[in-house]
Structure formats: structure tokens, C-alpha cells
């Protein structure tokens, strides 16, 4: 598919998104709420289909964000899906590992350092924090100082 066909394909899930931004020809930002993130991820991975690259966790002003980065190799387009998690006290989002096993470790890492709970994750154990690191302290959150 070339770029315009890709844009048309992505329009199919427009109803799940808050916004569709295209700052450059090969950069697409899809913004959505955390409840819809699972469906959009599944669409991107299975229907488009795009290659999952990595996920990023951010502690924003009043919410958490998880950005899933996908690459559509035929046109070199990078599709970023931003999922907003509004609940700052118990952040939680549906895990995409059941259909995308490659996301298992990055979700474990985001859980370790930001404390976001991934529902239905098959193996949500500690990954990168030290063995004797205290539970419940999430080092990359804004309120945690060294």
C-alpha cells in the first residue's frame, strides 16, 4: 500500500480515536483513551499490518501516556499510538501481549519503573529493577526523587 492507501485504511478505526495527526508525510500520531487502546493496537498489528517496534511510557502533567510505535515498512511510515491513562492513582491498561508476544518485556519494564498495571499480562514480574529494590516505589514517576 502506498501512503494514501494507508491513510484510508487507518480511517477505518477513526471512531475509536480522539485525534489523527500527520505532522509529516511519514509520521502519523493516533491519540486515543486507554480503554480503546487494545482494539486499536490489534487493528494496527493484524489488519494494516504494521510491525510493532517498541512502547514508551511517559509520566505527563495530569495523566500517564503509553505510546506504541509501529513501523509500516513498505512506505517507511512510523505510526505512533498514544494511549492516555487518566487515572493517576491506579493506572491500568489492557496488555497487548496475548496477541503480540513481543510486547511482553517492554510492558514488564514500564510496569517496573512507572507502576502501570497491565491487565491480562501473562508474566508481570520484576524485570529491570534490582532484587532488593523496595516494592511500590516507581523510580521514573515525577514525585520520586533520588
Amino acid at each position: 500500500m502506498n501512503q494514501s492507501e494507508l491513510n484510508n485504511k487507518l480511517a477505518q478505526i477513526k471512531d475509536k480515536l480522539i485525534a489523527f495527526e500527520q505532522p509529516a508525510a511519514n509520521r502519523i500520531y493516533l491519540l486515543c483513551e486507554s480503554e480503546n487502546a487494545f482494539v486499536v493496537n490489534r487493528f494496527l498489528f493484524e489488519q494494516v499490518p504494521a510491525r510493532f517496534v517498541i512502547a514508551t511510557g511517559i509520566d505527563s502533567d495530569n495523566c500517564f501516556e503509553i505510546i506504541y510505535h509501529y513501523s509500516y515498512d513498505q512506505t517507511g511510515c512510523v505510526i505512533n499510538l498514544k494511549a492516555f491513562i487518566r487515572d493517576r492513582d491506579n493506572p491500568s491498561i489492557e496488555s497487548i501481549t496475548p496477541f503480540l508476544p513481543a510486547a511482553e518485556w517492554i510492558e514488564r519494564e514500564i510496569h517496573d519503573v512507572l507502576g502501570i498495571d497491565f491487565r491480562n499480562h501473562p508474566n508481570l514480574k520484576r524485570l529491570i529493577l534490582a532484587d532488593d529494590w523496595p516494592e511500590g516505589v516507581y523510580p521514573l514517576r515525577k514525585e520520586v526523587k533520588k
Binding site: 529493577l129 534490582a130 532484587d131 532488593d132 529494590w133 523510580p139 521514573l140 520520586v144 533520588k146
Partner: protein, 143 residues
């Protein structure tokens, strides 16, 4: 005894420990063994076990997970031994000073186990192989 230190200077066997480095310093250490720098002419050999080693080459900022492991490796190195702390991160935590996982520079970790440890510092990011060789030679001359 004098002959022990003399023979240690002539044939220091090194063991390389990485306690949280980005691998730049590790690459520079292994570069020292290549034909261009060839530290085997000083008798320096890379050994596989800390029990065979006379010098520990420690790279990397001391991460929290690695503290116990580094102390155990140091205890397993047969005395008399020297610790070479290679790179800016290992000498004084470098740019990772504020990191949540940093448990202090390497000399602080080693001095917890042995306050009288002989430690030599080779700063740089990463130190060139010439700098590492010069540091090792100077430290051995002072022993």
C-alpha cells in the same frame, strides 16, 4: 615479600568485570589485547576466572544489583591484588550521578569489603587504550 611484588609487576593477569557499563570501556579494554597495542608483551593476560587474576579491571557505574556480585568477585580474587577502575562512570559515577539505580562509584563498593584495597583510577569516556596501558604501567611501578 619483595619477590612476590616483583613477579606480580612482571606478570599481572587481569580479569574484567562490568558492573553496569555501556560497553564502551569494555571495548577499549579488549582493544588493548589486539595487535596494535599488544599488552601481552608486558605479561598481561586476560584470564577467565577471578581466582587466577592479579588485577580486576572494573568498568561501569556501580549499579545496585551489581554491588553484592562485585564484592563477591573481589573476595574471590587471590591476594595480593589490585583493582583498576576504568572509565569516568566507574571513577565517580560520571553522567549517571542522579540515577535511581546507582549505588555509588566502584571504589566505595570495594572499600565496604576491604578498606585497604589498592585501587588505581583510569578516567576517560572511554579512556583510550594508550591511557589504559599508561595507567596500568604507572600503577604497577608504584606498587
Amino acid at each position: 615479600m619483595d619477590w612476590k611484588i616483583w613477579s606480580l609487576k612482571k606478570s599481572p593477569w587481569v580479569f574484567h568485570v562490568n558492573v553496569g557499563a555501556c560497553n564502551n570501556c569494555d571495548i577499549e579494554i579488549v582493544n588493548c589485547l589486539t595487535p596494535k597495542f599488544d599488552v601481552e608483551r608486558f605479561g598481561i593476560k586476560l584470564v577467565g576466572s577471578p581466582r587466577h587474576a592479579d588485577a580486576l579491571l572494573v568498568t561501569g557505574v556501580g549499579t545496585r544489583q551489581a554491588v553484592k556480585r562485585l564484592q563477591e568477585v573481589y573476595r574471590q580474587t587471590a591476594r595480593p591484588c589490585v583493582v583498576f577502575v576504568i572509565g569516568a562512570c566507574a571513577c565517580g559515577t560520571g553522567i549517571f550521578h542522579e540515577g535511581y539505580h546507582v549505588e555509588g562509584p566502584v571504589d566505595k563498593i570495594i572499600k565496604e569489603v576491604d578498606p585497604n584495597a589498592i585501587i588505581a583510577y583510569v578516567p576517560g569516556c572511554p579512556p583510550k587504550p594508550e591511557a589504559i596501558i599508561s595507567g596500568v604501567v604507572k600503577a604497577l611501578a608504584v606498587l
